[in-house]
């Protein structure tokens, strides 16, 4: 955050002062201070736990449970005091102004929720059996008020501190799903309040433990998935090290396949699988003797057959991985052609699995936009023209169109222009890239 505008300062100070005035007006005499202390500590733990930033598809706001429990147990003023604790959030690098705003924001939204709860007939205090189910109505409204005030104040500060673009992005993230999940967390507040009667201050501890364990597990999952992807990419790179010109090919094909898959609206599970399939599509090249891949003259039919075997070799390697079958089919058939003249099986049209058709487009495109020993890298528009030229014979026309649309929107991060390796011998490079549609392999005819 750079220098703050005067308007931001005014806004933050106004929020904090309003909160302070509301708390000072009291009444403070009737507050159960030990209970408040427990809830404040709880709130601080919850608020600090969200600092580490969880995975994207998982919202984490257990502090809502703590605030709403305070609303029921302590009433508006007590809940507002609990809210001010947000200023103490255990995280380094927070500016004073941020702390001031956080404390003020949570105090104000808790106070508003408390006021709504009382206005609708809710009785602050430990609820007993007789309070149910009447308490549910006021509680639900209180949770909603808390949510709206909280998000409203947050939007205000985002709008003041960021330029238009970023603000609308950030606001876009405060979507309905997030609000619903926040309400879900808020519901745990009522459970905490209800349990206070039977286990006292251990109620919040018991209620929140399963949630924290769930968060831990999701964190583990995300970490493992990242590690997995990094490891797979590293192993695929190992395959490419031998050939200077094809380095990074697997990763770019993976990215290109994913881009195309998103464009045609694949669901997340398949999207993930095709990302992996794109990454692994050429591992079978290892089964082809290097000298064949690097041969510059004509290939004999036997040699060509050996090259054609590489998708099958790839399948052999990855078969045991618990992927979707589709990913395996994608690897096996990525050199089939729409007109049926591809390999290994010579499938045509719709017989070719969708994954394979997607990978074929991304594969050829990356090959064309990368430097090869026998030609320079093509420009993106030239490569698109080539894709269009082979559309309908080699590639699925619908996929070529979708790929071009996605390219125009997202661009293509292609390989840096390659300087041939020092020593400059022709040895160790691919003479004819088998993925390159513009340079078909020469096969001796008998």
């Amino acid at each position: 955050m750079g220098r703050l505008s005067r308007a931001t300062w005014v806004y933050v100070v106004a929020v904090a002062v309003t909160a302070a005035i509301l708390i000072a007006r009291g009444p403070l005499g009737s507050i159960d201070w030990p209970m408040l202390a427990v809830l404040a500590i709880l709130f601080l733990i919850c608020e600090s736990s969200s600092a580490s930033g969880g995975p994207r598809q998982f919202t984490w706001s257990p502090s809502y449970a703590a605030t709403l429990a305070s609303v029921v147990l302590l009433g508006p003023v007590g809940a507002a005091i609990v809210g001010t604790v947000a200023a103490l959030r255990l995280r380094r690098g927070l500016l004073v102004v941020q702390r001031l705003f956080n404390g003020g924001m949570y105090a104000l939204s808790a106070y508003a929720a408390g006021a709504a709860f009382v206005a609708l007939g809710g009785q602050p205090g430990i609820p007993d059996q007789a309070s149910f189910p009447e308490i549910i109505g006021p509680f639900a409204v209180a949770a909603l008020v808390h949510l709206l005030v909280n998000h409203g104040l947050l939007r205000g500060v985002l709008w003041l501190t960021r330029d238009g673009d970023q603000a609308s992005n950030a606001l876009g993230r405060l979507d309905l799903r997030l609000m619903l999940s926040d309400l879900g967390y808020a519901a745990f507040g009522l459970l905490i309040a209800a349990l206070w009667q039977v286990v006292g201050p251990f109620a919040p501890v018991l209620v929140l433990i399963p949630l924290f364990v769930a968060r831990w597990a999701i964190g583990q999952y995300t970490a493992q998935q990242k590690a997995y992807e990094a490891m797979m990419a590293a192993l695929c790179k190992a395959v490419e090290t031998k050939d200077f010109y094809t380095r990074g090919h697997s990763e770019r094909v993976s990215r290109g396949s994913a881009m195309l898959a998103r464009e045609i609206g694949m669901r997340p599970g398949r999207l993930e699988a095709i990302t992996y399939a794109g990454m692994l599509h050429d591992v079978g090249k290892l089964g082809v003797p290097t000298k064949l891949l690097q041969k510059s003259g004509r290939l004999t039919e036997e040699e060509f057959a050996a090259i054609q075997l590489h998708p099958m070799r790839g399948l052999e390697i990855v078969r045991e991985i618990g992927f979707l079958d589709e990913a395996l089919a994608g690897i096996m058939h990525h050199h089939e052609r729409i007109d049926g003249r591809g390999y290994p099986l010579g499938l045509a049209g719709d017989e070719i699995p969708e994954f394979a058709r997607v990978i074929a487009v991304a594969d050829a495109f990356d090959s064309m936009t990368s430097t090869r020993s026998y030609r320079g890298a093509r420009r993106v528009d030239e490569a698109i023209a080539e894709l269009r030229k082979w559309s309908g014979s080699q590639f699925d026309p619908a996929l070529v169109d979708a790929f071009v649309t996605a390219l125009e929107r997202e661009g293509w991060q292609r390989r840096e222009p390659v300087v041939p390796p020092p020593g400059g011998s022709a040895e160790g490079v691919t003479a004819r890239d088998h993925d390159d549609p513009t340079a078909p392999l020469w096969v001796e005819s008998r």
Binding site: A194, V198, P210, V213, M231, L235, A238, L286, R319
Partner: protein, 411 residues
């Protein structure tokens, strides 16, 4: 099936039969609650998950059964069911929940169920008499510590039984197996224990609704765990599969990486390594030859034991670089890098995993896929001769024990 598993299943079976016989005589009390908890157990058994290390777990069933064992009252009514009734309801729920698994052709996993039933029975026998004492029933500060203690006990009993079974199955040392078991079960055990307490306490305020309300967070936890375990095993499968790249490329003999990893893990277990170390060892062993991919020409026969130590070092370095690029298995990269160093005399000493892989790799290079016992003992002899410098004597001894056991089981 091992005798340990049979013993556990028989014990749980006898317990269930005795409980059913007794309950048949006196009848089931508070039938509504019993049915609710029984269905929760059945649901949980239906939604089993597998934890790392192929351990079976049914967190929702466990929480339901423990909650029932710890129940103080339902609404205004005190809970008066006996420990035997808890066993009957838990066993019944488990059987109902396991039926769909059996119908779908999946194994019933009796040992896991038996272990859970015994753990629940311990808690029920300890707590049901206490639940009638007014001091415990009336004061949460008296009940909470007792309940917490019992939930910890259940976790411990389950882990001890699991460790006993694994000690025999693998084989492993009991102390090591117990520690691994406790560690793997801890996060989920905490969630299960907390949920069980929540269900037990909140039933007094909220009635039966509590049973379902507090299953919610546990369900989320379980889904998260399932995904975590799923990606973990895909990860291992992928490394296993991709380690075969060196074989398909003709760099090493077919099956070499897999055989070395199996042998290395067995030796590591023999030496008392814990599961996280074993996992790193397995990864490193699978990928110990990955550096050969960077060689232009495959080594004849791929046997790294026969090439010069400079070449060995280069392959190890290249392999470690490949793994290090991912930036997530730095420990594994280090193990792979240092496998080329002689086990003795190097400063600092190479990690145990590196020494194990060095010996296992040499053994497999010499023996290969052959089951010939003379060839194996000649290879062991050669490794023993190398214990002055090349190989770690402790590792070689453990390896010869593993190989000896294998020959026995083949014979």
């Amino acid at each position: 099936m091992d005798s340990g598993q049979v013993l556990v299943i028989v014990a749980a079976g006898l317990l269930a039969v005795a409980a059913i016989a007794q309950t048949a005589v006196v009848g089931i009390v508070q039938v509504g609650d019993a049915v609710a908890f029984g269905s929760l157990v059945a649901l949980g058994e239906l939604l089993r998950i597998t934890l790392p290390g192929n351990r079976e777990s049914a967190p929702i069933a466990a929480a339901g059964a423990l909650g029932y064992a710890l129940l103080l009252g339902m609404g205004e009514q005190p809970a008066v069911h006996s420990a035997l009734q808890v066993i009957v309801i838990t066993a019944g729920g488990m059987i109902v929940g396991a039926l769909p698994h059996v119908a779908a052709g999946r194994p019933a996993k009796l040992a896991g169920m038996a272990s859970r039933l015994i753990a629940v029975a311990c808690v029920a026998f300890a707590f049901r008499p206490l639940a009638r004492i007014p001091e415990i029933r009336g004061h949460w500060w008296a009940a909470l510590p007792v309940m917490t203690l019992l939930v910890v006990l259940a976790w411990f009993v389950d882990a001890v039984i699991g460790a006993l079974i694994r000690t025999e199955e693998l084989p492993a040392r009991f102390s090591v197996a117990l520690w691994d078991e406790l560690r793997v079960q801890l996060p989920l055990g905490v969630a299960v224990g907390a949920s069980a307490l929540l269900i037990a306490f909140s039933s007094e305020v909220m009635g039966l609704a509590a049973v379902w309300v507090f299953t919610g967070p546990l369900l989320v936890t379980q889904v998260a765990f399932r995904r975590y375990v799923g990606i973990r095993s895909t990860y291992l499968e992928t490394v296993r599969a991709l380690s075969r790249m060196t074989e398909v490329g003709g760099y090493v003999e077919g099956g070499h990486s897999r055989r070395v990893s199996v042998l290395a893990v067995a030796v590591g277990r023999e030496l008392g390594m814990h599961e996280p170390e074993l996992l790193e060892l397995e990864y490193a062993a699978l990928m110990h030859d990955i550096g050969q991919l960077s060689l232009r020409d495959p080594i004849p026969g791929g046997a790294t034991v026969l090439v010069s130590s400079a070449d060995q070092r280069r392959i190890a370095e290249l392999g470690a670089d490949v793994i290090g690029q991912a930036g997530v298995l730095d420990q594994v990269a280090d193990i792979v890098r240092r496998q080329s160093e002689p086990a003795r005399g190097a400063e600092p000493e190479p990690p145990a995993a590196s020494r194990i892989i060095r010996a296992a790799n040499a053994f497999d290079d010499l023996v290969g896929n052959s089951a010939d016992r003379d060839r194996a003992s000649a290879a062991l002899e050669r490794l023993r001769l190398g214990t002055a410098a090349e190989y770690d004597p402790g590792v070689v001894e453990a390896l010869s024990r593993v190989v000896g056991r294998r020959a026995l089981s083949r014979a």
